[in-house]
Amino acid sequence: MPYIPHTDSDRREMLATIGAQSIDELFREIPEKLRVAPGSLDLPPALDEPRLMAHLWELSKKNVNLADVTCFLGAGVYDRYIPATVGAVISRGEFLTSYTPYQPEASQGYLQAIYEFQTMISEIYGMDLSNASMYDGATSMAEAAIMATGIKHRDKVAVSEAVHPHYRQVLDTYCWSMGIEVITLPAVATGVTDLSAAADAACIILQYPNFFGTIEDLAAQRAACDSSEALMIVVADPVACALLKPPGAFGADIVVGEGQSLGVAMGLGGPMVGLFTCKKSLIRQIPGRIVGKTKEAHGEKPGYVMTLRTREQDIRREKATSNICTNEALMALAATVHMIALGKNGMREVATASVRNTQYAIQQLTAAGAKLHYSGRVFGEFVLELPKDPTVVRDALLEKGILCGLPLGSYYDELKNCLLVAVTELRTKDQIETYASALKEVLA
């Protein structure tokens, strides 16, 4: 039996200690007609380890993976450099196979790492504090919106249409089930959001940079939130925040985001890691786990524990701030290693390289016959307007080994000629020029 170590004599001795004749007897409380005979389910046959590996290898080879193509696709998930140390640390069995640190004395390693994670995420966003992680950026944003409705006692939230469409879809689902209304704020010609329709919402949610890559005006968001007494929620890219003035510096109340760019494999979008930070005054309303520093009850040594636990479901039940239990600790650990590996200078260098590559790509691709759709400032991603159907262009460029970006027509009717292009630090001058000349050919 794979992974089950019992010998025949183990089984016999154990049954004798229990006082049972057979394993079947242990299941006697299950009504007979509800039991199925072992081996009778409609399942494929068992595979030994070499056959299993070969089978999965075959399945994996059917996919076009990003080692086979040059990736200019972003839209919330980015092809970024992951230092080798990240994999080495998160594959250590002591981390990989532990669980939620309910016994802090035997879990100090993880607890300290998460305390370091909370510190660095807070620093990047310019916020007072961070929780220990959420599922992903989309659910983090939905949790933030729901938190705002609780704090403001309003049942309406306002979100920019320039926030990732999938995030808004998740927000819609969460809000529908709680009877919360979602107002969508339109984007203007520069690619930033028109905030004028946000009155009496519990919060205004912008993305920074937004889905189109444009850097939103967070000072204007703060002013709009002040005049309508709404909470200011920003969905921020942590890599961009290494260079941009962080949302916290504009007075954001809650800043959330996707941490995939910080050392997490793309993996078809899962698992990733949701980031969640807020002002100190809101800490008792925050969802999820938080690690805090304390000391021994009968000594002076410092140590770490999960804290403010009375917000959580296992203690507070239906009155908890959220139903989240298991979060994304392992991915938070990956992000921790990543942020330390890059450090202060590396994070800025990576962000700077993205800006340089992006500016070069804008220049090259517009020279190849595409037009920049929005006039606002961008960080590492931008919207191109094409004289040809973007899905046709995408398929033609994929034939040439270039994953050229995301056609936007299925998300925004008015952007059916548009393509969202991301250029990370991993793209080279050569790759950008190859993309431009291939585009020129396809458009000709």
């Binding site: 068992a46 399945l59 532990s98 016994q103 850097i215 290494a242 003035k245 942020m339 890059l342």
Partner: protein, 494 residues
């Protein structure tokens, strides 16, 4: 390969990484841009000045985390019988398959035509989970167990809204023995929660249930086997009662490990259930996540499934978004895909022939522990348990002033991770011990011997337990002080 060791109090106190920082160091070999330089302020408008992240070299970084790993207990360190969490062995081949470039390097927004192998994995997991649970449909969109519970309740909500009963049915019934996520998930879906008591035998109180059932009830959330480690013998009757009142029955699948290959919740009368692939199907717990929360459901709830729906269409597997009645998206992309690769690998390793061994040996191990400990820690109920046993340390509290938590902390000194304590809430001084099927008889014997020894210590030298653990890098920590003097991040010294 990684070496595993668990160092304890002999180790020097670990520094925070921020205290190891030295200006100018970098811990990796960064990619260098070869495109023309730009004026950042001109492009971005404003550039931030401060970014206070640590600066350490690569070797320093690795030593930091290797040393932290030595003060962290995982399944590969030792026996980890944390009840309700199914801390079974996480096979290494799963890590290898999930790391294949053809899975790990997929972008969720790349054209769906370029990921047929990924869709094969997803539908493969769905098919096998349908066969194992007896449900008509499975979706892998939810990102964790609680997220799966919430998604099930959303399906139920959409179902009643479509029938014009959305307003009327606003109550969800939750037994007093349920996991905290159940009432929290119900509240998150806008439901009012009403508790249902458990009777003296450990079963659902049918009279109380009967009284609670009317046309305001949307659903009953039932854990089977219950959190008492007992199979609910009246399960068919309970489902029939709820259905007769027009309600739905949700199964909390945290305890699926007791049933794999032996009995199918879909045959019990449940309408939907959540599964924790990180418990039952061996994806690693990762220190508290990622979870992975598949859900199963019957046909009548299928129209409301979250998108994308992965299904077959004309001999092909497709990601279907054309779902007019869908509740929408519950997560950004395809769920926890790399966890699904691990679960797929695990399911194919067991296959048809061996799948039932999972539940059979999980139940054998739990009953063995229960039998070996019954004289020192009596079971809460005098019935065969399923995959976990619930024992009580009440007498040590009354007679010796020793709490279940003290016994647990002492177990750490013996090299074991403690079981779950104080849950379910209805058993005083409770231990919830879930050994799982992957532990040997010798390990169970060592654990039981240690617990028996500790119970003697509780009588003879209770302070040994009050002061435990004494072998770790820190002694018992002050959790009250952590709340009073909140310190949730490091600040640079100014």
């Amino acid at each position: 390969m990684n070496t595993l060791s668990f160092r304890t109090k002999q180790m020097p106190e670990p520094k925070l990484i921020f205290d190891r920082s030295s200006a100018g160091r970098v811990g990796c070999n960064l990619p260098k841009a070869d495109t023309p330089e730009v004026d950042l302020a001109a492009v971005l408008g404003e550039v931030r000045e401060e970014l206070n992240l640590p600066e350490v070299g690569e070797l320093e970084l690795l030593r930091h985390f290797t040393n932290l790993s030595h003060i962290n207990f995982g399944i590969e360190t030792g026996f980890y019988p944390l009840g309700s969490c199914t801390m079974k062995y996480n096979p290494k081949i799963n890590e290898k398959t999930a790391g294949l470039p053809g899975f790990a390097n997929l972008h969720p927004m790349q054209p769906v035509e370029t990921i047929p192998g990924a869709l094969d994995v997803l539908i493969g997991v769905q098919d096998m989970l349908c066969a194992i649970t007896g449900f008509d449909e499975i979706t892998l969109q939810p990102l964790a167990g609680a997220h799966g519970e919430m998604t099930c309740l959303m399906l139920i909500k959409a179902y009643y809204e479509a029938r014009g009963e959305g307003q009327k049915r606003h109550i969800v019934l939750v037994p007093d023995s349920a996991h905290g996520t159940n009432p929290a998930s119900a509240a998150r879906c806008g439901y009012d929660v009403r508790p249902i008591p458990t009777n003296a035998e450990g079963n659902t109180d049918l009279e109380a249930l009967e009284k609670a059932l009317d046309d305001s009830v949307a659903a009953l959330m039932l854990t089977n086997p219950s959190t008492l480690g007992l199979f609910e013998p009246n399960i068919e009757k309970i489902c029939a009662m709820v259905h007769a009142a027009g309600g739905q029955v949700f199964c909390d699948g945290a305890n699926m490990n007791a049933m794999v290959g032996t009995t199918r919740p879909g045959d019990h009368g449940f309408d939907c259930m959540h599964l924790n692939l990180h418990k039952t199907f061996s994806t690693p717990h990762g220190g508290g996540g990622p979870g992975c929360g598949a859900i199963g459901l019957m046909k009548h709830l299928e129209p409301y499934l979250p998108v994308p729906v992965i299904r077959r269409s004309e001999m092909k597997v497709i990601a279907d978004y054309d779902r007019p009645k869908t509740i929408g998206r519950v997560s950004a992309f395809y769920g926890q895909f790399l966890m699904e690769v691990r679960a797929y690998t695990y399911l194919r390793a067991y296959g048809k022939e061996k799948m039932a061994d999972i539940s059979r040996y999980a139940v054998l191990n739990a009953n063995y522990v229960r039998a070996r400990l019954k004289d020192v820690l009596p079971p809460a109920h005098d019935r065969p348990c399923m995959h976990e046993c619930i024992l009580t340390a009440e007498k040590y509290k009354k007679e010796n002033g020793v709490r279940a938590l003290d016994i647990s902390k002492r177990l750490i000194d013996y090299g074991f991770h403690p079981p779950t304590n104080y849950f379910p809430l209805i058993v005083p001084e409770c231990f919830m011990i879930e050994p799982t099927e992957t532990e040997t008889k010798e390990t169970l014997d060592e654990f039981c011997d240690a617990l028996i020894q500790i119970c003697h210590e509780a009588v003879e030298n209770p302070d040994l337990l009050h002061d435990a653990p004494s072998t770790q890098i820190v002694g018992r920590l002050d959790e009250t002080a952590a709340v009073k003097n909140l310190d949730v991040r490091w600040w640079p010294k100014s």
